[in-house]
Amino acid sequence: MGLNIIVLAKQVPDTRNVGKDAMKADGTVNRAALPAIFNPEDLNALEQALRLKDKYKGTTVTILTMGPGRAADIIREGLYRGSDKGYLLTDRAFAGSDTLATSYAISRAIMKLDKADLIIAGRQAIDGDTAQVGPQVAEKLGMPQITYAEEIVSLEKGKITVKRRLERGVETVESPVPVVVTVNSSAPDCRPRNAKLLMKYKHAKTITESQNASEDYLNLSADRPFLNIPEMSVNDIDADPKWLGLAGSPTKVKKIENIVFQAKEAKKLTAGDNDINELMKELIANHTIG
């Protein structure tokens, strides 16, 4: 018997490769200059899901992502690597959501999908590093949670065994399913794209994306329903607007400041022998080292 697995994934700006043009002259972030990527730990989570699919025949892996229209890239990326389908949760009403409002929307969407045995996500996203959405979704769904997972050891007979990597050690826990698991970057990397799947899904589009498509494309997608990436909006998930977006977010941003370091009067040295020698003498003389 196959499992039903939902992978929560997020498209994030690649904050690890912030270049010089990442900030505009007025000190705000220039999002256009940051490439949008599949959140790295969500890829670790996808790999855990795909390993379960390899192990348990008939398993379905579904990607669920929330974001603007371009986040459909995340679903395509997942399809290229072996997931079976994906849903894009997108609506202007979600704009300005903090982690709690995001978790509410995601949990409502999960309730609309086929009943899952496992909901799996990266521990945290690199644009916020909060690690909150996984546990908050679990609570909203009334499911147990296993955070900091490194390996899903088994998922059989309604029971999951997971190895967790904590700050100072490892722990193995057992939980009934359904359960929400969040995965660390210490888990194995995700497998690369599969060439056959890339060919199969490269024309997969959401309804919004296919609005501008040619007639040829529309004929093609009518023949191949797997090319349609379903979208979900507020109306599809029976969400109460008061828990969504800015209104549904208890935390508000009061102030954003650009970083300006108070420049100190630094002593400037070269890499030359003389400069380094003098520096080491000085540090030894004033007992900073030695």
Binding site: P13, T15, R16, V18, A22, V29, T99, L100, I126, G128, T130, A131, Q132, V133, P135, Q136, E139, P144, I146, T147, Y148, T161, L166, E167, G169, V170, E171, T172, V173, E174, S175, S249, P250, T251, K252, V253, K254, K255, I256, E257, N258, I259, F261, Q262, A263, K264, A266, K267, K268, L269, T270, A271, D273, I276, L279, M280, K281, I284, T288, I289
Partner: protein, 339 residues
Amino acid sequence: MNNVFVICEIDEGKVADVSLELLTKGRTLANELKCKLEAVALGHNIEGIEKELYPYGADVVHVGDDERLNPYTTLPHTAVITGLFEEEKPQIALLGATTFGRDLGPRVSSALQSGLTADCTALEIGDHEDKKAGKTYKDLLYQIRPAFGGNIVATIINPDCRPQMATVREGVMKKEIYDKNYKGKLNKLDINKYLKPEDLVVKVIERHMEKSKVNIKNASIIVSGGYGMGSKENFNLLYELAEVIGAEVGASRAAVDAGFAEHDRQVGQTGVTVRPKLYIACGISGQIQHVAGMEDSSMIIAVNNDPNAPINKIADYVITGDVAEVIPKMIKYYKQNTK
């Protein structure tokens, strides 16, 4: 009612350092708000633990001592804390941003439908005016944290929901005894009142905890490397220098992400905050997330081939040059001058 709460982490019967640091901060906040500071400690065989907490200024210590609370699992702790918070209605609740706090905090905040800000680097009390709604809020908790890859610092508030929750990394706040004779009140919790059978479904079947091998938090000299070190092999230069001058090796997040160093060595907002006597930053550009974790070092030496690297602005000595050239020279001249 409406006091400042610290959810303490109990590690093998002892209170974690980060919890004591938060009690110190919580005491300052409580004084400013003219309210009480309360602590929650859950575990098993922890009788007398309140005596460890009073000297940090805890007016009330809520202790839950029950075998179902050790080892830590999410659901029983969540049940007790949300139950207690519904009765006590704290205005502020603080947790360490450890695996414990980052597992428990969001679960509790979701259950109470209250806001939580992760990895704060500063906490202050201040007012807020919502011009659109024409409302003024007094004495909110300003939760200050770097955001967006460390390019900006954001001040977050929770105007309407309580408690205002925040997590803080170990070492960010300073631990100080408030009054070694300070006497608070013990409140023993009746755990059966809060726990339901379904809270006990997750079982820990194996656990191996080891003392961290790396101790950069208490090192007096730290040689730290960033992405600019270029490779894991070049990182070995840092270990050589550290060995010679008696230092620990630290790393920036970019270096850890690139696999140059293990996560225990990460200095910064999502790693460890350090205050050594000397911090040598090699090939580190100086993103705010990193700087937040080391700017209180007594002396900073920056080695970087970019003369405009942000780290240079907070450094006492700036060496412009290639790390692979500079570090061996530091080793050589240290040895020469100490002979």
